[in-house]
Symmetry: C2
Subunit: 281 residues, 2 copies
């Protein structure tokens, strides 16, 4: 019997739809996490969970922690039946169903959605990607760092590389500050240090970004610094790479005719990061 | 037999749910219009339609115009069976279903959703409302004026008046520019002219705002000016009112201990606007 992916649950039930009156649809009133499952486990779960909890506090969405635990456990159980080494689990939490209007009464009950599917890693991208600088600029947001369901800026930015050969697009603020790529954080290597943009006005504080700073870079003995970066910092960098928790580390080998080789720090991080993917962390 | 409201259709079918993989839920990748139905007609349809089309162009969402016409006609037909003088019709257009990722291939097919329900006008509000100034500040957005499904700023702002007696909250930019209320545009009267904020960096360009500027104010012989406004303009105004296409004109009678009487221009506009509600336009 063939399985249709993603395998979806809504509030623990095996359905693949939500009511139209769910505020996730109406207003983007919710959060999400996209997570890698390796050998029936989510290696970066503590970091995903931490960001999700921060988001729930910021948006004032109430979810009992045992409900989150339950849907994750259910998804991990379902993952056992999927014939793939790597899987993706997307968790969406919305404020729930309500009648029309931005205000909501205290009876609202949050919606927990999981989507599970096999992941086929595009290993070519680990040998280098071509990126462009998006014309779409990132504006400040009141939920910098978090992953809400208000993701139009990234949809608009990603549209720019339709019908191009680019693998990713880099995002800047109106003031020219480099922030991230459309679905990844960015890192440059300069003088043997890793530098990544400060995520305080806009952008997503990626779980892999945090894992690199707290763990992987430490393991290879390289310091990670958060700093405001501009285009000139990018173009004078020794190495440039992108990272997220699903596809790992992508070395950037070209942007606007500037070319980079895949440097030793990027390669070391990739080797360490590979441990996450094969479950050796 | 009792009817459950809202009466919902998705792509013309009588269902009240959408797939979890709809991008409206995943990313807020869509638009909406909330419209008043009076005697089986939408008096402000041309203005709603115009803003919707602008939004579709901005987001590059393709919808055949006959599909929009069809779902509106179907909703108006269904409205005949609802025992109420005034009804609300909410139309949601999303980019449609896709697999994970911000980018989308050209096979995506937009989703059209309608929600129909009776409206009970809160006539008390037409005798004056109490508002507060929100602490949440509006940030610039790349879709100023439009009504996308990325509405978290209004959700966060509306939360501030939970457990208060306020009817609405006023929204300012970080620079102190007055923009709108959480679900309404704002207008002040000064020296017998109506002034409303410029909506170019953030905010929603309301259909009723446009109707007042283009038609209702003209009919009472008062000029409407778009101008940058600040708190001091608000507090030195002769009259203040809020308006949207569902609830009409709400005179503001109190904000931060400042009190206003309901002035002659607000009353005249209300009288003209009443024509819209009773179908005499």
């Amino acid at each position: 019997m063939s399985i249709n992916y993603p395998i979806t649950t809504v509030n623990g039930l095996n359905v693949n739809h939500v009511p139209v009156s769910d505020r996730g649809l109406a207003y983007g009133d919710g959060l999400f996490e996209t997570m890698l499952i390796v050998r029936e486990d989510i290696p970066l779960w503590p970091l995903h969970h931490e960001r999700l909890l921060k988001g729930l506090v910021r948006l004032q969405i109430a979810v009992e922690s045992q409900r989150i635990r339950h849907v994750i456990d259910t998804a991990l159980e379902a993952a056992k039946d999927v014939p793939a080494d790597l899987l993706i689990l997307k968790l969406i939490v919305t404020r729930g169903e309500s009648s029309r209007g931005y205000q909501v009464d205290s009876s609202v009950h949050s919606t927990l959605i999981t989507q599970l599917s096999p992941l086929v890693l595009d290993v070519n991208k680990h040998e280098g990607v071509h990126v462009h600088c998006c014309e779409h600029v990132l504006m400040p947001i009141a939920w910098a760092g978090l992953k809400t369901l208000n993701q139009l800026p990234y949809v608009l930015a990603a549209q720019e590389r339709s019908h191009t050969h680019f693998d990713e697009g880099l995002l800047f603020t109106a003031e020219g500050e480099l922030i991230e790529a459309t679905a990844r954080n960015i890192f440059i290597v300069k003088d043997d240090k890793i530098v990544t943009p400060i995520i305080d006005q806009c952008g997503v504080a990626g779980v892999m970004r945090q894992n690199i700073a707290n763990k992987i870079a430490v393991q290879i003995g390289v310091e990670v610094i958060e700093q405001r970066l501009y285009k000139e910092d990018l173009f004078s960098a020794d190495e440039v790479f992108l990272a997220n928790s699903i596809s790992g580390i992508w070395p950037v080998i070209e942007c606007e005719k500037q070319r980079w080789l895949i440097g030793p720090i990027t390669r070391s991080l990739q080797a360490m990061c590979h441990g996450v993917f094969i479950g050796n962390t």
